[in-house]
Amino acid sequence: MILSGADIIVKTLIEQGVETVFGYPGGQIIHVYDSLYKYKKEINHVLTAHEQGAVHAADGFARASGKVGVVMATSGPGATNLVTGIATAYLDSIPMVAICGNVMTSQIGTDSFQEIDITGITLPITKHNFFVSSVSELAETIRLAFKIALSGRPGPVLIDVPKDVQIAKCEYTEQAKVEIEERKPAKDVRINEAVQLINASKKPFIYFGGGLIASGAQEEMLSLAEKIDAPIGCSMMGLSGIPTDHPRFLGMQGMHGHYASSVAMHNADLIISLGVRFNDRVTGKREKFAKNAKIVHIDIDGSELSKTVDSSIGLRADIKLTLQKLLPLVLDSKKDEWQKAVEGFKKEEKENEDMRDGLTPKNAIFALNKYLGENTPIATDVGQHQMWTAQNACFKNPRRFISSGGLGTMGFGMGAAIGASYATGEKTVLVTGDGSFGMCLNELATAVTYNVPLVILLFNNGVLGMVRQWQTLFFNKHYSNTVLQRKTDFVALSNAFGLKAERVDNLKDLDKALKNAFESKAPYLIECKIDKDEFVLPMLPPGGSMDDIIVAKPLNNK
């Protein structure tokens, strides 16, 4: 059938299985919005308050579902408002397709109204991007974008469509959903090399990240851990990859990781690394990172192998398929001495555990845990609350921790929580802080308009806590611009947006408020007052090593 470019965009999205898109209309994408009107029975559009909210929502949708998140915006400022969100998705390898309108092809390059070179701007933060100059290429470009977004290491793809291409007509024939590039196991000879190292190891440690979730290799990893009697830790991006209460799981690694997990990896003689990229937040000082360990690294992206930390064996391959081939070759063995050492690390962690009563961040997250369903997504913003959530929230199933890891985007949470709720149909939790929340709280309007069932747990300490923590530890308590002397009344603010809210300052009230929030069918905000001097612990100082780990707050502090 002959269709306009705008219709082809919408029809191709439907053809690729897209049910929900997030976005914001404008002059140069108005034709696509007309097509969305035409096809509204087949595809749902969620209008956010700001393009940034839309792109984070598409991201949250993708993280929670594993499908491509789709966002639309107009040219110029619409397109540039997507940039932070696209970069967030890029750093965390999230499949996304962003579609922007642009001025007529005849006006491109003339600095016309709301014209911006968005393909140029997003070049370093997309897996690939396209400028579509002819309507005849449009459908194939969108299909290719979906293929690229999902294949190999996923990532965001942007498509820039000038207005005249949206208006022009051409033949459109519906096609099947694109097949992603075949994922392959590593070569036998490389697997055998890895097996030799694994069989020779006396103190193996399994370290997984977001790549494990993308590969769906949870079962295989757990089988490997059982077979070789290894403890397991993960990067922040790996959280929810296996159940938090799994007996082999020591928790998150890194700057604010669990003590036992970090110490076990530091003392291991072999780190089996699955879908991780040894970010500086995990390794600390690279020269001192796990000096006695050999590293077997499996990643779908070859450029991650030996990028920051040299691996003894790097396998560019799909984790699941590789582990399936590797498992039968690995010898069963019990490692009593190593397990004893790991028990020791756990005991040390226990000794430093925060055992205070009252409304501490940890107790607040523990209170939240009681209300979580098996599939409740928890989104966060970025800062102390993010780390408290990462350390203490209890996950049962993968893709339920929705958090900006690589880019660390404050303001991510509101949009992402909305997207995650759309993806799962579940009541969704957003844990946020007063700093981050202040950045994108306009999306409360979206949550209310669409009645998105969010439980927003807002930690209010009146400061930018994470930066303040650094200022306390490393900048002689010079609290430069981290004390928010705002007078915001978050309950009144919520009410003004049209949602219910409560303010709590003790654990008992928090519990009651959570009960109310989880019973509500509508979005619900709980402002949780906490002390401004709460710390995230333990902490590996930036550029430090395990020798420098801070497990308790300095005594001269409140």
């Binding site: 140029g120 690939h128 290491r153 992206d301 450029s303 030996s306």
Partner: protein, 169 residues
């Protein structure tokens, strides 16, 4: 530091060179020479990159290139498996006192005189990069007005081609 030459077959599309060089810039790969042109098929362009670095840096560069969807094939070339050449244009001052020496040197290198005026002479020289370097170094004793060199182009020896070997698509 080793010298590496990598040939990259890319889709002949608008903006591809920008994608490749943008990646070099943001990942801090320092490129010494880069040439690009259409190939036997106008669907593809061929980029030849020459740079100095360590083995792991080279591997990173290849790995990062491999991730660009417009990159079709990558081949590392060295002096044992390939032939390479580059072109130099050099403009010298035409001074009566140095004219004979300059012309003699050019002749010794088989450089072609492609322009001659009262005030200047332009020579053209093709050859491998070392030979070009040698010629330029020799000319430094006289007054060089301008230099333009193309950067290296390189082809594998024998019948194998980049699209048949090291292909990734």
């Amino acid at each position: 530091m080793n010298k590496y030459t990598v040939a990259v077959l890319v889709k002949n599309q608008f903006g591809v060179l920008n994608r490749v060089t943008s990646m070099f810039r943001r990942r801090q790969f320092n490129i010494n020479a880069l040439t690009v042109s259409e190939t036997e098929s106008n669907d593809y362009s061929r980029i030849t990159v020459m740079f100095f670095g360590e083995e792991n840096k080279k591997q990173q560069l290849i790995n990062q290139l491999y991730k660009l969807p417009d990159v079709c094939s990558i081949k590392e070339l060295d002096s044992t498996n390939s032939v390479s050449s580059e072109l130099l244009l050099i403009k010298m001052a035409n001074e009566p006192t140095t004219r004979d020496d300059v012309l003699t040197a050019a002749k010794a290198f088989d450089a072609k005189t492609v322009d001659y005026s009262k005030a200047s002479m332009v020579f053209e020289l093709t050859g491998d990069s070392t030979r070009i370097d040698d010629f330029i170094n020799l000319m430094r004793d006289y007054e060089i007005l301008e230099i333009c060199r193309t950067g290296i182009v390189s082809l594998e020896k024998g019948a194998s081609t980049i699209s048949k070997s090291g292909g990734i698509m």
